[in-house]
Symmetry: C2
DNA sequence: CGTATTGTTGAGCGTAGTCAAAGTTAGTGG
DNA sequence: CCACTAACTTTGACTACGCTCAACAATACG
């Protein structure tokens, strides 16, 4: 992943769901990109900023959050390597709060340049619209999680989502998945408190579903975690493009009987 | 609203955030549209359908939902008059469950025709990308609601969202807003049970925040409901386009002190 | 007028929140 | 290498918000 350029990362991401012509790929490859590095906990963009650039995450994990006046935080989106953010800022050009969860390397791409490509190569615009649609689908999945799942299911679902997405962006299926989250952050992701996240993780560990060590999560029993999440393994057919497989993974939930037995 | 064509409805919606040239508007105006009517409770599209058409809601209220294997339902998106759905179906062309909450009149527009316009008029594609971005922002707002708000705030927020969006699509600020929701449906919208929705509505009624009668919701005290929702009135400046104002309305939350006093 | 759907209320329970304290880990500087 | 600190994790005791189950009332509807 080290020597791959920002533009290549972007092209690779878009081609997971859209076909790009040589000219279109070439145009993207010629986009000017400024590389920026952010350390853990720092803001990559703020709500109050005027958005001039989209950015592509090259390495590390970032996430978009919203803070309530009460000081409560809700994490809305997790950006992994290859993910694009800030392509369509709000009406007044406002950005959103995006922070680095791990040290993050991003490529900034000017919105002007991007919009220029969209005009010249409408198909690239469509690819970005699909990208937005994927993000929307992930968000919907998380809404179901917060609205209709208990703590155990929410955390198991999130672990499955991370595993599935890292499998997609990282290549092969890893035994361990990157897991930089503090329990506070997991709470802000799942709509729980850090204390309850702690208890829930403990229960999952005791049941032999997963194991945590030094920034890595090991899924000791894939069937068990997908069962705890209310997902069914057989939807993980290997034919679909990665993200879409991930979304299919997240689309099903446990039956009432399963729910009670968890 | 009766005599306005489907294409005009679409153009009006897009021009709330994007500027369309005469040629672009004309191209949209020439899109073939099939009008369909659905009665309350019927499916407008199903997850298992292959998506061939996008649709524009002309009159009525529809919503997209996801049902868990446990039989729990989460309502994800509410479509009001003018809203567009199904523009970017999933990878395999799958649609989503969309049902009619009231009798609904929709215009079906073939995805092929739409994609043809996107190719010929990239700017229209961009307008639809902005449309998707708005939907994403609304979804984010609802994620904050489910993740970090209590029942009272969730319901008050939803009422504010409906009021704001109906104000936007319906024109002037109405004393009464359309409120076809059963308490069951409100529960599925807010991640609560129907019984708890009932108690929460009762409390809001008793506090003189709102009143319900025959499919209409009357907000008796705008300050009170926005306070209960954790929103602040002063963000409702009249300068912004409607939906974006709505989103701004929903972006702020109560302080800890306010939360306790509610 | 009868039936189905929706709304209302009560009692009891359970999941998750709150508060507080102790334990652990990681990072920093002497 | 160890001491010190800050951040994070773990645990306990208690609370409370929202869920469940159940019965009944009010509407809507054919």
């Amino acid at each position: 992943m080290q020597n791959i350029s920002a533009q290549d990362t972007l092209i690779r991401k878009l081609t997971t769901h859209s076909r790009l012509s040589t000219a279109e790929s070439a145009a993207i490859a010629e986009l000017p990109a400024r590389i920026m590095n952010y350390e853990r906990g720092s803001f990559i963009s703020r709500q109050t900023d005027f958005a001039r650039d989209a950015f592509v995450v090259l390495t590390g994990i970032a996430c978009q959050q919203q803070t309530t006046r009460a000081g409560a935080r809700q994490i809305l989106t997790v950006y992994l390597s290859g993910d694009v953010a800030n392509v369509d800022p709000g009406f007044a050009g406002e950005s959103q709060d995006v922070i680095a969860i791990t040290p993050v390397e991003v490529a900034l791409i000017s919105l002007d340049a991007l919009n220029h490509i969209f005009t010249e190569f409408p198909n690239v615009g469509t690819a970005f619209r699909r990208e937005a649609a994927s993000e929307l689908a992930l968000l919907q999945s998380r809404l179901v999680s917060l609205g209709r799942c208990n703590a155990r299911q929410r955390i198991a679902r999130f672990a499955c989502e991370m595993a599935s997405r890292q499998r997609a962006s990282g290549g092969s299926e890893p035994e361990f998945i990157e897991w930089p989250w503090t329990q506070e952050e997991l709470g802000d992701l799942t709509g729980l408190t850090a204390v309850h996240v702690n208890r829930t993780l403990k229960s999952l560990r005791e049941d032999g579903v997963l194991a945590l060590s030094r920034g890595r999560l090991q899924v000791t029993d894939w069937n068990a975690i997908e069962f705890a999440a209310g997902l069914n393994r057989n939807s993980s057919d290997q034919k679909r493009p990665a993200l879409h497989k991930c979304l299919a993974d997240l689309s099903l939930q446990p039956t009432q009987a399963e729910y009670r037995s968890i």
